[in-house]
């Protein structure tokens, strides 16, 4: 079998008994064997577990009692998601031999849905440093061109999904760690509303900014995966208490009548994107307009006004998480992460409190801007993936990124591929929704994605 399937396609074939979960899993394992020596997306391949899961799914398939859409689907987990009895390293020397006793809640939920666990996927160290060349494992390479960066921190999931080593995977997003690699690897990836999916059993970075979420080839697949991971968890103090929405409910409704705000100054003035990225966003807006959406301009505070409190809060909270190790095992961290974390010693308690107050003002501004809109659109990334050895160490301090504003405000934000740039690598846009309105975000993303014929294109190495 050489074809690439989305989760929906594979699930339909499995349900119709036209695709064997074991055969699908073996195809993914074969791709890992062929490609991952170059990509480095897996930190630990759990082939025996995957085949056992696949055989169990095949048994349910034959008996006619499949658990649902995810039954028999090969997935991977970012290596900050704890897995019982399976090494969980955060891609760091500090946790090189850490074997958790319990699964994280999301890992439990996906397993209960019948998914096939392929293994643990690479990350930037503790979901913050990267790309780092001084860790026990090398950084992940972009399957569209292995000389290029995947972005991070969910770098392994980005590369593995793009190359078809798994059909979907977990990511985490504190300042853009789901949407960044989704953008640079040409996937769909959503940071849901803060509190949508449990973080219990996921190694923390920044308590008030951390989000768990899915990454997959298509928008529809993201909706399927999010449905299987969302829901109230009393053990996570940030967990939302409302009923879990049906994320697939509006998927095929099209965009007619949707009110779309474009935050042009984010990607044209505050951090000007490449010509190809700008053209991709403009083409998407033309598509939405032709399909009957109402497009308007939105003006917010400059993007750096959102990034500044975001990075102060992130650095302060991450410093608090890592302080004991920073004092005793400073040089066991990779250079990038330890330098970024050490900056936390320079941020005062007053700075942190003022940043949280500023956050509230910006949340109010964003809510007011969205009051008469259904979604907003801006870039996910400035352009195509840069070369992996040309990523500035302090990129996040030099220029504002497009993703942090929606970590700061907690709004759902989806990265969608908008085509390819002059270097042949993916370009993207970001679709932002109101709190807990992921279904509308998916609706717009799905309408756009399914209308684009080039969406079937995969990296040449995985073709």
């Amino acid at each position: 079998m050489s074809a690439h399937f989305s989760i929906r396609q594979a699930a339909d074939l499995i349900a119709a008994k036209k695709l064997s979960p074991v055969e699908l899993t073996q195809t993914c394992l074969d791709r890992v064997a062929k490609l991952d020596g170059e990509l480095h997306s897996f930190l630990l391949l759990t082939a025996e577990r995957a085949l056992a899961d696949a055989k169990a799914a095949e048994g349910r398939q034959m008996a006619g009692n499949l658990k649902g859409v995810l039954d028999g689907i090969p997935i991977g987990h970012k290596d900050i998601y704890c897995t019982a009895g399976i090494r969980t390293t955060a891609h760091s020397k500090l946790l090189e031999d850490f074997v958790p006793t319990d699964d994280s809640v999301v890992v439990q939920k996906w397993a209960a849905a019948g998914s096939v666990m392929m293994g643990k996927l690479a990350t930037h160290e503790f979901a913050m440093g990267g790309p780092s060349f001084d860790l026990p494992w090398p950084p992940v390479r972009n399957p569209w061109n292995t000389a290029h960066f995947t972005a991070g921190s969910s770098s392994g999931t980005g590369a593995a999904v793009a190359a078809g080593l798994v059909l979907g995977g977990t990511g985490s997003d504190t300042g853009g760690s789901i949407r960044g690699p989704s953008a640079l690897c040409g996937l769909a990836g959503i940071k849901p509303t803060y509190g949508t999916a449990s973080r219990v059993g996921v190694l923390p970075l920044s308590f008030t900014l951390d989000h768990t979420g899915p990454m997959a080839w298509t928008v529809e697949d993201c909706a399927i995966l999010l449905q299987a991971m969302a829901g109230h968890d009393p053990a996570d103090p940030a967990s939302a208490t409302g009923a879990t929405p049906d994320f697939l409910a509006d998927l095929s409704k099209g965009v007619k009548g949707l009110k779309i705000g474009v935050i042009s100054h984010f990607h044209e003035v505050d951090n000007p994107v490449s010509a190809a990225t700008k053209a991709g966003i403009d083409a998407a807006l033309d598509f939405f307009r032709k399909e009957g959406a109402d497009i308007r301009e939105v003006t917010l505070s400059p993007m750096m006004d959102y990034n500044a409190p975001g990075w102060l809060i992130l650095t302060s909270e991450a410093y608090a998480v890592h302080e004991p190790w920073l004092k005793t095992r400073f040089n066991d961290y990779g250079e990038l992460l330890r330098d970024r974390l050490a900056m936390g010693a320079l941020i005062s308690a007053s700075d942190y409190v003022q940043a949280t107050r500023r956050r509230r003002v910006l949340c109010q501004e964003m809510a007011a801007a969205m009051a008469d809109l259904d979604i907003m659109i801006t870039a996910s990334a400035p352009g195509e993936a840069p070369k992996i050895d040309e990523v500035p160490k302090w990129a996040m301090l030099e220029k504002p990124n497009f993703t942090m504003p929606f970590n700061l405000t907690g709004l759902p934000a989806l990265s969608v591929c908008t085509g390819f740039g002059t270097g042949g690598l993916p370009i993207s846009m970001q679709i932002i929704g109101k709190p807990f309105q992921e279904a509308t975000v998916f609706r717009a993303g799905h309408a756009y994605e399914t209308a684009m014929s080039w969406r079937a294109r995969r990296p040449a190495m995985a073709a």
């Binding site: 750096m304 006004d305 990034n307 500044a308 409190p309 990075w311 102060l312 920073l326 004092k327 400073f330 040089n331 330098d339 050490a342 900056m343 010693a345 320079l346 941020i347 007053s350 700075d351 409190v353 003022q354 940043a355 949280t356 107050r357 500023r358 509230r360 003002v361 109010q364 160490k393 302090w394 301090l397 030099e398």
Partner: protein
């Protein structure tokens, strides 16, 4: 702030940075400083946004 004064922050925090490591971070300090300034710029008294504590309701 001089490099020496800068280094005192890490000494006080108990972080075992070498002189070279302090010097590397000192190069990035102006960028962080600008970010702190932007995030902590005074807000109008009338706005007075506060951070709050919400007791759990069971």
């Amino acid at each position: 702030m001089t490099l020496q004064e800068f280094g005192v922050f890490f000494d006080k925090a108990g972080l075992p940075l070498s002189a070279t490591q302090k010097e590397t971070l000192y190069q990035a300090w102006p960028m962080l400083q600008a970010m702190i300034k932007r995030a902590t710029a005074p807000m109008p008294r009338s706005a007075e946004p506060s951070i709050v504590f919400q007791p759990e309701q069971k």
